[in-house]
C-alpha cells in the first residue's frame, strides 16, 4: 500500500515524520505542499488537515495529520521493520510515553518559538524579537536542566535505546544548534552528548538531505 507524505522541506513537523519514515526504512512518495503559494490553505489540502498545517499522511484509505500521531502509527504498525522506535513491554512503553508528552508539552512550545524567531523569521526577511528569544531561552533552560538529570540516569530519554521520545526532538534541535541557542545544549554535558548522538544518526542525515 503506497504511502504519501504531504509537506514542506523546511517544515519542522514535516521533518519529524520524515525522520520516522527513514528510521523505519519505509518507502514513500513525498508530495511538496507549496506554502509560499498558500497551498496549505487550499480546500484540497484542508480536506487532509482542517488546520491547514503540514504534514499530512496517506496510506490507502487511512488519512492522518499531526506529526506525532503519524510517527506513533508508523512505529506501532511497522514495529518489525527498521529501527525499534517503541518498546513492547507495557510499563516501559508507558515511561516512553511520558517523555513523548514531555517533548510535546514542554520542549516543543519553547523550542518552536525560538526556531520561529531565530530561523524562520530570517528566511522570510522578518525581524527577530529578542525579548521573545530571551523569555523562551529561560523556559528551555528549565526543561534542559530536567533533561540533564534524566540523561545522567538513562542513556536516552525514553529508556536505554533510541525511541520516538528522542526522535521527536530532532527537527527543532537541528535548527537550534545552528543558532546562539546552541550554548544552552553545550552547557549541559549529558544533553550535549545525547544531542550529538541523535543528530548524527544515519536515518536523520538521510531525512534532512533527501
Amino acid at each position: 500500500m503506497a504511502i504519501k507524505l504531504y509537506g514542506a522541506p523546511a517544515s519542522n513537523a514535516t521533518l519529524r515524520a520524515k525522520a520516522c519514515l527513514a528510521e523505519k526504512g519505509i518507502e514513500y512518495e513525498f508530495v511538496h505542499v507549496d506554502m509560499s503559494k498558500q497551498e496549505h490553505k487550499s480546500p484540497e489540502f484542508l480536506s487532509r488537515n482542517p488546520f491547514g498545517q503540514v504534514p499530512a499522511f496517506e496510506e490507502g484509505d487511512l488519512k492522518l495529520f499531526e506529526s506525532r500521531a503519524i510517527t506513533q502509527y508508523l512505529a506501532h504498525t511497522y514495529a518489525d521493520k527498521g529501527s525499534d522506535l517503541i518498546i513492547k513491554d507495557p510499563k516501559k512503553m508507558a515511561i516512553l510515553a511520558v517523555w513523548i508528552e514531555v517533548e510535546s508539552q514542554k520542549f516543543e512550545p519553547a523550542s518552536s518559538k525560538l526556531v520561529w524567531e531565530l530561523v524562520y523569521k530570517a528566511m522570510f526577511g522578518m525581524t527577530t524579537d529578542e525579548a521573545v528569544v530571551e523569555g523562551n531561552e529561560k523556559k528551555l533552560e528549565q526543561v534542559l536542566d530536567v533533561y540533564e538529570s534524566r540523561l545522567s540516569q538513562s542513556k536516552y530519554l525514553g529508556g536505554e535505546s533510541f525511541t520516538l521520545a528522542d526522535l521527536h526532538h530532532l527537527p527543532n534541535m537541528k535548527y537550534l544548534v545552528g543558532t546562539k541557542t546552541k550554548r544552552l545544549f553545550d552547557a549541559r554535558p549529558h544533553v550535549s552528548a545525547w544531542a550529538a548522538d541523535i543528530l548524527s544518526r544515519p536515518a536523520w542525515v538521510k531525512a534532512t538531505t533527501a
Binding site: 488546520f51 487511512l62 499531526e66 507495557p90 508507558a94 510515553a97 511520558v98 508539552q105 512550545p109
Partner: protein
C-alpha cells in the same frame, strides 16, 4: 493494588486521569497536593515529577506523570474492559492519537492561557491581560469551527465511539464554560453543543464532578 493519584481535585490534568480511571473502574486513592502552599515545588514532590506539576500516578513501584501518557497506558492496559476508548485497530488508535494531539496543541494551548489569565492570575493578586484573552478566544473559535465541521461527519472526534480524544477535552471545556464564563463558544455551535452534552453527562465524568463539588 490501589493506584495513588497525587493532585488536587481542581486540577484539570488530574481530572483527566480520574475520568479515565472511572471509565475503566480503576481503584484509586486521591492524594491532595496543596498548590497554594507550593507543595508541588518542594524537593519531595520534585522527586516524583521533575517539572513540579500535577498529577503523578503511583501504581505499586510504577510511577508515571503527564496526564495524556497516563490515560494512554491505562486505556491500553484495560482495553479488555472498554475496547473502544483507544481504538480496536492500529488505524483507529492512530485517529484517536491524532485528535489527542489536536486537543493537546490546538485546544489546550488556548484554554490554558484563558484559565491562567482569567482565574489564576487574579487569585494571585495580578492583572488579567484582556488582550491576550481576546486573542486566545479568537483562535479557540477557529478551532471550534473545525470541531463543528468534524462533528457534523462523525459522532465523536475520532469516529463513532467515545474515545480518549473526547475524554481529554472534559476538564478544560468545563472550566471554559463555567468559571471562565465562555459557554457561548460551545452553545453557539450545534454539533459541538450536542457533543458536549453527550460527553459531559457520562457517568464517569459525573463521578469526577461529585469529587470536585464535594472535595477541596
Amino acid at each position: 493494588m490501589v493506584a495513588k493519584v497525587y493532585g488536587p481535585i481542581r486540577s484539570a490534568c488530574s481530572q483527566r486521569v480520574l475520568a479515565c480511571f472511572f471509565e475503566f473502574g480503576v481503584d484509586f486513592e486521591l492524594i491532595h497536593v496543596d498548590l497554594d502552599s507550593q507543595e508541588h515545588k518542594q524537593p519531595d514532590f520534585l522527586q516524583k515529577q521533575p517539572f513540579g506539576q500535577v498529577p503523578v500516578v503511583e501504581d505499586g513501584d510504577f510511577r508515571l506523570f503527564e496526564s495524556r501518557a497516563i490515560i494512554r497506558y491505562y486505556a491500553t492496559k484495560y482495553s479488555g474492559k472498554n475496547r473502544n476508548l483507544y481504538g480496536t485497530t492500529l488505524e483507529e488508535k492512530a485517529i484517536v492519537d491524532q485528535w489527542l494531539e489536536v486537543e493537546a496543541h490546538h485546544f489546550n494551548d488556548m484554554v490554558y492561557n484563558i484559565v491562567v489569565q482569567k482565574l489564576i492570575i487574579p487569585k494571585m493578586g495580578g492583572k488579567t491581560d484582556f488582550d491576550l484573552v481576546q486573542s486566545c478566544v479568537k483562535k479557540l473559535e477557529q478551532v471550534l469551527d473545525i470541531y463543528e465541521q468534524r462533528l457534523s461527519k462523525t459522532r465523536y472526534l475520532a469516529g463513532e465511539w467515545f474515545t480518549l480524544a473526547d475524554l481529554s477535552h472534559l476538564p478544560g471545556t468545563r472550566y471554559l464554560m463555567n468559571e471562565c464564563g465562555l459557554d457561548h463558544l460551545v452553545r453557539e455551535r450545534k454539533k459541538v453543543n450536542m457533543w458536549w452534552d453527550d460527553i459531559s453527562t457520562r457517568p464517569a465524568w459525573e463521578k469526577v464532578m461529585e469529587l470536585f463539588n464535594g472535595g477541596k
